[in-house]
């Protein structure tokens, strides 16, 4: 059963800044190169009922593909080098139909 993995987040960078653009683009480029990641998208969260402003979403064919992504060095490195220092707040949700 496929799994849509999502994370909605707010950056420490100013909205519309070059730092924001570069973070989102690097996230896209880095994460889409990891095997098993499909249907990747960067989306804007626009409801005023949440102060989180971006979403990364991707689909894995199964739990094994999701586990492999989590353990992949490119993912672990992105989290350590970029996510932790540049993300002010986030929430993960995964969906399965």
């Amino acid at each position: 059963m496929s799994i849509q993995h999502t994370v909605v987040f707010r950056l420490i960078h100013a909205p519309g800044s070059e730092e924001e653009r570069e973070f989102l683009e690097t996230g896209r480029r880095t994460l889409t190169q990891i095997p098993g990641v499909t249907d990747f998208a960067v989306r804007r969260q626009v409801s005023p009922k949440s102060d989180l402003r971006h979403q990364f979403t991707m689909v894995f064919a199964d739990e094994d593909a999701y586990d492999a992504y989590n353990a992949h060095p490119a993912h672990v490195d992105f989290v350590a080098r970029r996510w932790v220092p540049e993300v002010a707040a986030f929430q993960e949700y995964d969906f399965s139909n």
Copy 2:
């Protein structure tokens, strides 16, 4: 520009209960009858990093369609009669590409 409106939530009902099934089915039946609601789905939230367990998701063609949905009597009535008494916690997010 289309808007995906989502709400992720936890019910007061026991997981797998008849009350849960009936709430989700009534939500689907009620909300899909409102003009402007497209691509409606009920989804399971399966990440252990959130204690919210269900999601309603729908797509509106534009802000006017979304506003009309919010004000529609069938939506207002569902919120008052079912959502408020039966939903223990929730978070809304809206996405626009």
